[in-house]
């Protein structure tokens, strides 16, 4: 039997940006919507990011999907049905697991989505909208996403110019802590790469630009020092990482210039990223021992390789997610068997006690306390032995189908199993 979950929403797969823009929620509106749709016994979760808006509803009733659709339409103030998708039961669980693991993201494997889903879950918990089955599904989704992060390479490789430059630098240096970055040119690309390098731990930033004022402004923003452009060779002695983004028509960093600084640098590795077109760094620089220079084409090739690696890792990640969904379904099936078992045990105990009382009442002389204890223990042992096999079999249900529990309920004349109530 499928889990009582429905997901209705839209994403970059189904809706263009102008439609997604119309469904941007403020936090108050999100809370309002959750309170509206998550009235007990229903539960709700709202994931709202720039690339998706999804409303998950869990609880009894066959109209969960319709309720979710009308709630979203109410927020948008228009009919969104042509952009909306809906997943029910196990498919909805799988979808949530895939979203959390970043398998449904625009940039496959991007790390932000897991944090966004966790934030959405915390919000739902705060409002009391996720408290039972939905909370369990979310916990399993987070566990599954963590497995995908640790057991596959899905999120390990950079896919933007600036982060790819940092990734490359980390192949030369163990870490960027304590390293000196030299920004040659105060252009936008250089600034972005500089910010990434600073956030990755670089301790000192030097900015060299032909217009000193711009260098001073950028250095102030990055917490670095501005240096005159003609002092670049001096800076090359100090720098570990150099990012170039000038508009110069000819290379500003030549092989000769770098050769001259190798000895004063005591052969420390030098890593250069050339984001300028035309190039600022003479490609011959890369042939020097201990010098590693990369241009925009190289970085783009790394990004392409990374994206291909992510796509390859996605196949394994999909298998992991499917495994985790199956594990959740099995756990749920086991949880569902517990009421049947409890009823079965209670019924047997009731019969045992009734029959024991009747038998003892029919005796001509009352038993001594010792004899009564022996008879009591014997009847308990008979009941336990008779129920041992059915109990073990019901507990061992792993397949997720509840036929066995239904059969037990039918055979032993138990009340309807509570799982019927959860269908939706």
């Amino acid at each position: 039997m499928s889990p009582p979950l429905v997901c209705v929403g839209l994403s970059h797969h189904t809706a263009p940006l102008d439609v997604r823009e119309r469904l941007v929620f403020s936090e108050e509106r999100q809370s309002e919507l959750l309170r509206l749709v998550a009235q007990a016994p229903a539960e709700a979760l709202l994931i709202s990011t720039c690339n998706r808006v999804e409303l998950y509803l869990s609880g009894p009733g066959a109209d969960l999907g319709e309720r979710a659709r009308s709630a979203l339409a109410g927020v948008a103030g228009e009919d969104l049905s042509s952009f909306l998708y809906a997943h029910h039961g196990e498919a909805a669980v799988l979808h949530l697991f895939r979203v959390a693991a970043s398998l449904d993201s625009m940039v496959l494997g991007e790390p932000q989505i897991l944090g966004q889903v966790k934030d959405a879950f915390e919000q739902a918990q705060r409002l009391g909208a996720a408290r039972g089955e939905l909370a369990r599904i979310c916990a399993c989704a987070f566990g599954s996403a963590k497995r995908v992060r640790t057991e596959t390479e899905l999120g390990r490789a950079a896919t933007s110019m600036a982060s790819a430059a940092v990734e490359m630098a980390k192949h030369v240096f163990q870490g960027l802590q304590g390293k000196t970055v030299l920004l040659v040119g105060a252009g936008e690309m250089g600034e972005l790469a500089g910010r990434h390098l600073v956030s990755a731990g670089s301790s000192r930033v030097l900015v060299a630009n032909r217009t000193l004022e711009r260098a001073v402004a950028l250095a102030a923003e990055l917490g670095g020092e501005a240096v005159a452009f003609d002092r670049m060779e001096e800076c090359l002695i100090l720098a570990d990482v150099v990012v170039c983004s000038t508009a110069s028509p000819t290379p500003v960093i030549t092989r000769e210039k770098v050769s001259r600084v190798l000895k004063p640098r005591r052969h420390r590795p030098l890593f250069l990223v050339d984001l300028a077109v035309p190039r600022d760094v003479d490609p011959e620089v890369h042939t020097l021992d201990g010098v590693f220079a990369y241009d925009v084409d190289d970085i783009q090739r790394l990004i392409d390789e990374n994206q291909a690696a992510r796509a390859a890792a996605a196949a394994r990640a999909e298998a992991l997610v499917a495994e985790e969904v199956a594990r959740y379904i099995r756990q749920r099936a086991v949880r569902e068997q517990v009421p049947v078992l409890a009823q079965l045990r209670a019924r047997a105990e009731q019969i045992r006690k009734g029959e024991l009382e009747r038998a003892l009442g029919n005796l001509p002389t009352p038993l001594t306390p010792e004899q009564a204890r022996v008879i009591e223990a014997m009847t308990s042992a008979i009941v336990n032995k008779v129920l041992h096999q059915p109990t073990a079999r019901l507990r061992a249900v792993q397949s997720g189908d509840s036929d066995l529990a239904d059969a037990a309920a039918e055979l032993f004349g138990l009340d309807g199993a509570p799982r019927k109530a959860g269908e939706g």
């Binding site: 640790t150 057991e151 596959t152 390479e153 390990r156 490789a157 980390k170 192949h171 030369v172 240096f173 163990q174 640098r265 005591r266 052969h267 420390r268 590795p269 890369h286 021992d289 201990g290 590693f292 990369y294 190289d298 090739r301 790394l302 390789e305 990374n306 690696a309």
Partner: protein
């Protein structure tokens, strides 16, 4: 469990560990690193038990080339495990554990005990000399593997090949720093080897001149000494140092094999 059984089990554990390390290189799944470490550690424990059983019966002096390489493999794995645990550079295992398996193969097929390693000399300092010499060789062995990984990593960076190897190799800085530490420790061990060796020789064969193999060790000692000086005072590092480490280790291996190889007449 006999020493022979321990060695056989250890060999298989190392071989499976090597396969796991190679799979780690191919697949990049971190869990494989722990499987590989576990298998290698298990093999190392079994190997150690076997060696203790064997050497305790021989007054702690190895007998024959097979036992010497077995101890060498044991020390290689021990040093590698320490390096791996300290740096989490499991990928080194893809280079080192197959090497350890290869080193262990001769000892598996050479019978136990083998021929006397150094016949007729039973000086009290001899076990120390042998232990220090083999430790030094093992340290330089690991340094050479690290140098090999450095060259492979540098090759991918210089060749701008951003494939799986690029994503999995440790940074050049880490590998170079590891090489520096290992060469420094290896140099200390090599110095002690020469000192203890000279002492043993002076007690046993005072009139005899140094053999070519012993001279090769002295040459390697000078080369590694110069290398360390160049690192400290001239800032040498990277590719040049990696190549020199490999060359120095090559000289030591040639010296070891020509001095103690099974084909050497005594």
């Amino acid at each position: 469990m006999t020493a022979r059984t321990c060695f056989t089990l250890a060999f298989h554990a190392y071989a499976l560990g090597a396969l796991a390390y190679l799979s780690l290189l191919a697949q990049g799944w971190k869990g494989l690193g722990w499987v590989a470490r576990g298998l290698t550690f298990l093999g190392w424990i079994l190997h150690g038990i076997g060696l203790v059983q064997l050497l305790s019966a021989q007054r702690w002096v190895p007998s024959g080339f097979g036992q010497a390489v077995s101890i060498l493999a044991f020390l290689l794995v021990a040093i590698f495990l320490v390096v791996d645990l300290r740096t989490r550079a499991a990928l080194l295992g893809a280079f080192l554990s197959p090497a350890a398996v290869a080193v262990l193969i001769p000892s598996m097929y050479m019978g136990v005990p083998g021929r006397e390693l150094v016949e007729g000399i039973r000086q009290p300092l001899l076990p120390v000399h042998i232990a220090v010499a083999l430790t030094g060789l093992a340290v330089f062995g690991v340094a050479t593997a690290v140098a090999g990984v450095y060259l492979a990593a540098e090759h991918t960076l210089k060749g701008k090949r951003f494939g799986p190897l690029f994503r999995r190799v440790p940074s050049l800085e880490l590998l170079d720093d590891l090489n520096r530490r290992l060469v420094a420790w290896g140099f200390i061990a090599l110095s002690l080897t020469l000192l203890t060796g000279a002492w043993v020789q002076s007690r046993v064969r005072p009139a005899e001149r140094w053999s070519a193999a012993e001279l090769a060790v002295a040459v390697a000692w000078v080369a590694f000494g110069v290398l360390l000086q160049a690192r400290i005072f001239a800032g040498w590092r990277g590719r040049r140092v990696a190549l020199l480490t490999m060359a120095g280790f090559g000289v030591l291996v040639v010296s070891f094999v020509t001095r103690y190889g099974p084909w050497v007449a005594r």
